[in-house]
């Protein structure tokens, strides 16, 4: 996405946060700090050489704690997501006609709903991220903007427990309707469903030897 388009998007929706630009700035800052450190070391090494002392220990760079985004990424407030999506789809400058997927990431402190938009005519891609609190994972559905969001939102509901308000048919899609819990959450612990345990126990009882060591007759 060109800088002009990013500026236009941020101008229209001032509450958006350009995560990729922030990450790039943080990375540049870290690079600069590292370069300064290296210059210092080189000066110290040169001085040590001039004085005939052994060179100081070489530096080792550790990766700066920057979360890098390889695709233009924007953080969108929860109540603006449908407006942003519709604007990105309808504005010919962006022309984001395709929604590749809707999914989520489970971070320790929040759930992040991820929208991946693609423009076929402009050949650009954008990621929209909406943080939602874990105790209130609700967000407006974008089915009205892209019909294709239907199953993707159902999947995110099924596997992450995010409720998409306004979705025409929000049911589980991968797991069976009576499943408990949301498997892709980090705190999900797999337990055999009760009915399955019952069936298995019953079967075990049937084939287990009786008390005097004989198998029950199958007459």
């Amino acid at each position: 996405m060109t800088p002009e388009r990013v500026a236009a998007l941020l101008g229209r929706f001032p509450h958006l946060q350009d995560l990729s630009a922030e990450a790039a700035a943080a990375q540049a800052q870290a690079d600069e700090a590292w370069a300064a450190k290296e210059r210092e070391w080189q000066a110290a090494a040169a001085q040590a050489k001039a004085e005939g002392k052994p060179a100081p220990r070489p530096l080792r760079r550790e990766d700066p704690p920057v979360h890098r985004y390889r695709t233009p990424t924007f953080e969108v407030p929860r109540d603006e997501i449908v407006d942003v999506c519709r604007w990105l789809r309808d504005n010919p400058e962006f022309d984001m006609t395709q929604l590749e997927f809707v999914s989520a990431v489970d971070w320790p402190d929040r759930l992040e709903v991820v929208y991946l938009l693609v423009s076929m005519s402009r050949a650009h891609t954008a990621v929209l991220k909406v943080p939602v609190p874990k105790d209130d994972p609700r967000i407006a559905s974008v089915v009205d903007v892209w019909r294709g969001a239907d199953w993707h939102e159902r999947e995110a509901y099924d596997l992450f427990g995010i409720t998409f308000e306004g979705h025409p048919d929000l049911r589980r899609i991968m797991m069976s309707a009576d499943w408990k819990g949301h498997p892709l959450r980090k705190d999900y612990v797999y337990e055999d469903p009760e009915w399955l345990v019952e069936v298995a126990t019953q079967r075990q009882r049937e084939i287990a030897p009786t008390q005097d060591g004989e198998r029950p007759s199958r007459a």
Partner: protein, 367 residues
Amino acid sequence: MPLRTEELLLNMGPQHPSTHGVLRLVVTLDGENITDVRPDIGYLHSSVEKMMEHRTYVQNVALTDRGMDYLIALNNEAAYCLAVEALAGVEVPERGRYLRVIFQELNRIASHLVWLGTWGIDLGATTLFLWCFRERERELDLFEQVTGGRLHHVYFRIGGVYADVPDGWAGACRDFLEYFLPHIDEYHQLLTQNPIFEARTRGVGVIGRREAVAMGASGPVARASGIAYDVRKAVPYEVYDRLGFDVPVQASGDCFARYLVRLEEMRQSVRIIRQALKDLPAGEFRARVPVAMKPPRGEVYVRTESPRGTLGMYVVSDGGESPYRVKIRAPSFSNLYALTEIMRGWKIADIIAILGSIDIVLSDVDR
């Protein structure tokens, strides 16, 4: 006495030969006309995304073979490797990239052959099945010589491919292409002018351009609806920008158009492989990558053109040894949604033709 009519609820699948896996369709019928289709998926849900969070980046390559679409193992591996390479900043040597392109295109041909053969069986053309699998068998032999596997190869590695091709393999591959190309014309002779086949597919299951875009269809399904879009052209990866090939497009959007697009794609794949074999450079085929690799914190989304459509990999790293989150954007998932949505209004017999023309693989839909 007045004739009493009512709608009929028909359960199709999950075990049904024409569903190409385990897909259940609850179809509401008014006579022979479909009034509603409710697809029920998830029977093959293997939760591969969750499994990937518990294995290292290198181990996950093997998971992409099995947990995702089992007919296009190499294309899955490519998508995953490309994503991790972008995340970790790994540079793949030239030879590795060319080899990857050759194998992805060979896999595309193999996948299209399975699709054509099984769809033929769905529509009653048994000969086609035997012919397609005959050609595919020779192709699987080519795979076996290099990767040791016929379906699940685990051949691509982060940073390149596992091993170089053996001596004489390139010649064998050229021989196969030489042998295979005339067979595409045979398929045309068998089907394209066939009145039964045309009656079952021409004008059936039409999906319009706007609908296809809105519902997220991609790959041959979208290209048969007049959308001239191919990720290999739009956002070239590997070395696709150096290879000449055309993107076949049809405007009518019916089952017949999807068939024509895929047949032409096989021809283009042959073209790509021939060029890649000719240009195949000597040298290293794999970059050095630590086994316990730890890509820096960050995230990446990589799109590739798999035989079924846009296959995307969204990988999030928290700096650890295994990915924090992997989201697989499966092409069949969106294509199946699009095609089941437009099934209303067609006849019951068309369900088989339409389902087959999407080229779904249920392990790709469910993951």
